[in-house]
């Protein structure tokens, strides 16, 4: 996939999005850029955000630059998928998108360092980036709680929700998961969603924890 096609593919969602993510993760220019920007924080990162804390999607990512790149790509993906227009990513070109990933990765790192070390850094964080630092990184405890909640759902439900929120269309979901029609997939997705909502409402402690 060409760089110029990545942004559109991410916006399109589904299988194209997954292909675009795979292309993005091997972009050495982005990785190099993040690595260079984080070089001066290396000691502090090792001290305050050790490899054991660099968990993404349940797996440890030893390389700090790659870890923050993943977090940044995740933020970008969320923005592209967010239907509320005020949070959408406005960039149109690949360099703009790459710049956003690098900036976000660096500011996520700085924000986390500030939070953990309780020390200021020389670089100030722009206001529009501040929202990222409210929840912080997904630590192991938070991961376990969320995983426990999702495990209440069946495998099929998790799959259908993953596909839907990964930008697959109902037709594609129906085809992949063996539903007769798109409507059948839509109904099933709704049931799964409601099921998750019910599980959450039954356990206010989890809701509080997620807040």
């Amino acid at each position: 996939m060409k760089n110029s096609e990545i942004l559109q593919a991410l916006k399109a969602g589904g299988a194209l999005r997954e292909e675009a993510l795979a292309t993005l993760f091997v972009d050495e220019a982005i990785q190099e850029n993040i690595r260079n920007r984080l070089k001066k924080y290396k000691k502090r990162i090792d001290q305050y955000i050790p490899p054991s804390d660099r968990i993404f999607g349940g797996r440890r990512v030893d390389n700090a630059a790659d870890f923050f790149m993943l977090e940044a790509v995740f933020k970008l993906d969320k923005k592209l998928r967010d239907v509320r227009s005020e949070k959408q990513f406005r960039g149109e070109t690949y360099p703009e998108m790459a710049g956003f990933i690098v900036q976000t990765a660096v500011f996520l790192c700085i924000g986390e360092l500030r939070k953990r070390s309780k020390q200021e850094t020389s670089e100030s964080i722009p206001d529009d980036m501040a929202e990222y630092f409210e929840t912080g990184l997904l630590n192991a405890e938070r991961y376990t709680v969320l995983h426990g909640l999702l495990d209440q759902l069946g495998k099929g439900c998790k799959e259908i929700l993953l596909m839907f929120y990964g930008g697959f269309k109902y037709e594609e979901i129906a085809k992949n998961m063996g539903f007769k029609s798109a409507d059948g997939a839509k109904s099933q997705k709704h049931r799964c969603y409601q099921s998750l909502l019910t599980h959450l409402e039954r356990k206010p402690s989890i809701t509080e924890f997620l807040k």
Binding site: A22, Q194, L197
Partner: protein, 277 residues
């Protein structure tokens, strides 16, 4: 009474409402705190769902990492021996690049050492193993022993001059003695030494040859040895006559100069002479 449903919230968050429906819903959202609370609950669901997306994204990331490793392995694996040879020729270096400055310095130091050693050995060979150096080391100046008795003659003056190492004065006196004279073997012998001492090697060789030819001459062994030395001084070490004479002396255990001849042979065959002379 609630005038909204969970499905509506879900559709609102998923972007499935039409613009008028969305506008109406947002108007309710601004006025109804219960609706906002319900929306918050749905947002918590989204937070939980983010975990699924993260896991999927991580899966894609780790797949790319594995693919990168595989691609890099594939890039290096299928090199043919010709490619490897070509690469080695292109990047040939005796020493690793990082070690080169150290090896250059070591090489220079070694070259300097070899140069100094070369000149040192050449100098040693010239001083101790050249023909003239060997001659000086081996040659023992002769003293003329007395006279043949009777009245002092002009020859006695020749012997005196010889013993005073005034060879220039002794030579013309000794040269006047004919071969038929009884004193000839002695004067001829000292004449040879006088020539040898003054560096007139060709004349010394001839003078010693004449003494060697005298039957039963008591000076024959000494004359033969000193003729070898005269030849050494004349630089005739490669001549057959020199080698034959030296060999004869060395091989004759009864010859008083046999050991000197063997030692001289040994030094003439020294490996340094074959390099530097």
């Amino acid at each position: 009474m609630e005038n909204w449903t969970a499905e509506q919230i879900e559709r609102y968050l998923d972007g499935e409402m039409s613009p008028p429906e969305q506008h109406s819903f947002e108007a309710q959202l601004n006025q109804n705190p219960d609706l906002r609370d319900a929306l918050d609950n749905h947002l918590e669901v989204r937070t939980a769902l983010d975990l699924l997306l993260r896991e999927k994204m991580a899966e894609i990331y780790w797949d790319t990492q594995l693919s990168s490793v595989k691609v890099s392995q594939q890039r290096t694996a299928p090199e043919t021996w010709l490619q490897i040879l070509w690469k080695k020729l292109r990047t040939f270096s005796l020493f690793p690049a990082s070690e080169q400055p150290r090896y250059v310095l070591s090489g220079l130091a070694m070259a300097t050492f070899c140069l100094i050693a070369w000149f040192g050995l050449a100098r040693y060979t010239q001083s101790y193993l050249s023909d003239s150096a060997l001659l000086q080391a081996v040659y023992v100046p002769q003293n003329a022993v007395g006279t043949l008795g009777g009245e002092p003659t002009s020859f006695d003056a020749g012997f005196k001059a010889f013993n005073k190492k005034d060879y220039a004065a002794a030579i013309p006196i000794f040269e006047t003695i004919p071969a038929t004279d009884l004193k000839y073997p002695a004067t001829g012998f000292y004449l040879g030494h006088a020539y040898l001492a003054t560096g007139n090697y060709e004349a010394a060789i001839a003078a010693f040859e004449r003494i060697i030819a005298v039957p039963d001459s008591p000076f024959a062994q000494n004359a033969a040895w000193n003729q070898v030395l005269a030849m050494l001084g004349a630089g005739k070490t490669q001549d057959a006559a020199f080698k034959k004479r030296l060999q004869q002396i060395a091989n004759n255990p009864n010859n008083g100069y046999a050991k000197d001849a063997q030692a001289l042979q040994h030094q003439l065959h020294h490996w340094l002479r074959s390099i530097f002379l």
